[in-house]
């Protein structure tokens, strides 16, 4: 631990008018599962493409494994596994051949390659489908094949660009578990997505991007600590009078009370037993109420607080 695998400094990438990546700096250490979170169009994929030296960028430095990354950094490239957003497999080749075809770009030794390919097939659970052509695979299996093609050569750094788009929950879990397993086996992982649940589930460290800028970075907990809200209590009830609202606002740690659409929302910052306190207070007022829930802040709240908009737009 502690070795820097990826170092991005002040990366700027402009498409004519649009600045896709704006002075972005990142440092990813060995053994991390680094989540790059952001809404569609926030510059995640562009960052990845610059990192891989596929895209020319306007400013900044990129180092991989302590060496500057260029299109001819074959030593570095050999240690990277890439799973890009779109499925890139050949329709004419079956599962085994596809993995072998791409693995062959990294591993020369035939026997070793055969072993690696078999392991990759085992790893993504496609053993029963080795002779299948991609067209016969369901969306989830296709994604897994796509991943197998990227990781068969046992890379030290695995870059996954939204690997779970359009994947059923079962396959998604399988994929996420797989990523964690790869990480346990020693691989550093960069993971981009706009599904915050995934990031929360597996990432050791997270950077949130918007408009090409990094707007926050840290562990899931650290990020959540960045915002005032620690707990939100929601109570189903008829429209409260101003007295009740005032009472609720005076609750310990509460900083905002809102009633909308038949629900009263009380926002707390820090403190303990906020739910209990609320229940006690409301009971004393004798108000009728329905369901009561308490929610801890999510990354969406973090994002919402920082940018003033939902992380996941109508996706």
């Amino acid at each position: 631990m502690g070795d820097t695998v990826v170092k991005i400094e002040n990366l700027v990438k402009k498409y004519k008018e649009l600045t896709a990546v704006d002075h972005l700096s990142l440092e990813i250490k060995k053994g991390e599962i680094f989540g790059l979170l952001g809404p569609n169009g926030s510059g995640k994929t562009t960052t990845i493409s610059c990192l891989l030296s596929l895209l020319a960028y306007n400013e900044g430095n990129i180092e991989l494994f302590g060496k500057p990354m260029t299109p001819v950094s074959y030593d570095s490239k050999a240690k990277i596994g890439v799973i890009l957003q779109n499925v890139a497999v050949f329709d004419e080749l079956n599962v085994y051949e596809n993995i072998d075809c791409f693995c062959g770009l990294y591993i020369k030794d035939k026997a070793k390659r055969r072993q690696y390919v078999d392991e990759a097939i085992e790893f993504v659970g496609l053993k029963d489908f080795t002779k299948f052509k991609p067209k016969k695979l369901s969306g989830g299996l296709l994604r897994r094949l796509n991943i197998a093609c990227g990781i068969a050569h046992k890379p030290e750094l695995i870059i996954l660009d939204e690997p779970t788009v359009a994947v059923d929950p079962q396959s998604r879990n399988k994929i996420l578990e797989g990523i964690e397993e790869l990480n346990r086996n020693g691989a550093t992982v960069i993971y981009t997505t706009h599904y915050m649940e995934e990031v929360e589930q597996i990432c050791t460290r997270i950077a949130i991007m918007d408009h090409g800028k990094k707007i926050a970075e840290g562990t899931s907990g650290e990020l959540k600590r960045m915002i005032k809200n620690t707990e939100t209590v929601t109570i189903e009830m008829d429209e409260p009078d101003s007295g009740l609202l005032e009472t609720m606002k005076n609750l310990e740690n509460a900083y905002e009370v809102r009633w909308e659409a038949g629900k009263l929302k009380i926002f707390f910052a820090g403190g303990e037993h906020n739910l209990l306190n609320t229940m006690d207070t409301i009971r004393t007022t004798g108000t009728h109420f329905g369901q009561v829930t308490s929610e801890l802040p999510t990354l969406n709240d973090v994002f919402l607080t920082i940018t003033g908009k939902e992380l996941r737009d109508k996706d």
Binding site: F132, K136, L137, S138, G140, L141, D168, K174
Partner: protein, 398 residues
């Protein structure tokens, strides 16, 4: 009209290819159609001869003059390969070598040597080469006769020239009872229409098939099936789109045809030729729709377009006139719609014999093709719909 609009959105992306075809076609047709004036007087199909003069004498030059008067004299370098190429491509029909000693031997009335005076270099044994040999022989005969008569070489050459330049009395007649040709639809301009089938098939299959294939893609079709657009409305919009597209393409060719024609079409035969081409445009569109129902990919569509376009054009007389093709070929060609198009076109231009009712028969034949293709398309689309539902087997073990 969502689907209809989508249709033309896809079509617009293909405008470049269509333009490419139209421009190439016009570039080819302009010089072909306008190369020379319509022949009203008799024009002799001349024999192209090149001469290599090894003798270089007054007599040999006199002969060359005479040859030039009656034939098309082609200047060629004295190089076997150049002569070979020109002969192979029928730029020259025959090459005459006037051998050294030509004048000397003509001058000598006692020359009985059977050594050849000429050498002819031929690629093939043709009517033209036979005529050239005949011409040379007769020239020598005349020369010898006159020299034997006591004429000088120059006098003899002049007389031989006069003899050989006597032209037969030829007259172009409009025989009594002949249908008067519609001179508004000339044989030359008919070329424009003659080539059209290749273009129409190439464009229709290339463009229309691709549009329909992408509209027919399985997920797209499923999306439409699930949407509020009724399948029948979807189909009718696609048909409407194809129809408008066909008329559009056909219209482009009719308008560009006017450029070649030099103004608005005139006369009944032109109108019928235009109608003929419209029938064929519909046939080409139906062929394209038929092909698209097999969901071929881009390269394959191109290949099919070329096979159908080139194959039918050759077999049915679009490139080589039907008259030049053998009877057997013309028999086989009858099963292709292009044959009837070309036949009607030939008759309208007066290239083939036939009156207006014969032309009408060709139109009926084309109409039958339209009917047959429509039925095929309907049957195929009905059967395909059933098949897709039955054999959708996708592995899913996630």
């Amino acid at each position: 009209m969502k689907v209809f609009k989508l249709f033309f959105k896809i079509a617009r992306a293909k405008a470049g290819i269509i333009l490419l075809y139209v421009v190439i076609f016009l570039a080819i047709c302009f010089p072909l159609v306008n190369s020379s004036k319509e022949k009203l007087d008799f024009e002799e199909a001349s024999i192209a001869i090149s001469v290599i003069d090894e003798d270089q004498t007054v007599a040999s030059r006199a002969l060359i003059d005479t040859i030039a008067k009656r034939n098309h004299l082609v200047e060629l370098p004295n190089d076997k390969q150049a002569i070979m190429d020109a002969s192979f491509y029928e730029v020259v029909d025959d090459t005459v070598v006037i051998k050294k000693g030509f004048e000397e031997r003509l001058q000598n009335p006692d020359d009985t040597s059977t050594e050849p005076l000429f050498e002819t270099l031929q690629m093939r044994d043709t009517f033209q080469t036979a005529m050239t040999e005949q011409f040379l022989n007769n020239y020598i005969r005349f020369m010898k006769v006159y020299v034997a008569d006591g004429d000088s070489l120059a006098e003899a050459a002049e007389k031989a020239d006069t003899e050989l330049c006597k032209e037969a009395d030829v007259e172009i007649v409009t025989p009594p009872g002949a249908e008067v040709l519609d001179t508004n639809y000339t044989e030359k301009f008919a070329l424009y229409f003659r080539f059209l089938p290749y273009l129409l098939i190439a464009i229709m299959v290339n463009v229309l098939s691709t549009i329909l294939t992408s509209l027919n893609r399985k997920d797209q079709k499923m999306r439409i099936e699930c949407s509020s657009v009724k399948m029948s409305s979807y189909m009718s919009q696609i048909f409407l789109g194809s129809g408008v597209f066909t008329v559009l393409i056909w219209g482009i060719f009719m308008i560009s045809g006017m450029l070649v024609y030099g103004g608005v079409y005139r006369g009944l035969h032109c109108a019928l030729a235009v109608f003929n081409s419209f029938l064929f445009a519909v046939i080409a569109a139906l062929i394209a729709i038929l092909i698209s129902s097999f969901n071929p990919n881009g390269t394959v569509v191109n290949m099919i377009a070329q096979i159908l376009g080139l194959g039918m054009s050759f077999l049915c007389g679009a490139f080589v006139p039907q008259a030049m093709l053998g009877d057997g070929v013309n028999m086989v060609a009858r099963i292709f719609p292009v044959y009837w198009f070309e036949k009607a076109n030939d008759m309208l231009a007066g290239i083939q014999k036939g009156n207006l009712s014969d032309v009408g028969m060709c139109f009926i034949a084309e109409a039958i093709y339209i009917g047959v293709f429509v039925v095929l398309i309907v049957i195929l689309s009905a059967r395909r719909g059933g098949l897709v539902r039955q054999k959708k087997v996708v592995a899913n073990a996630g």
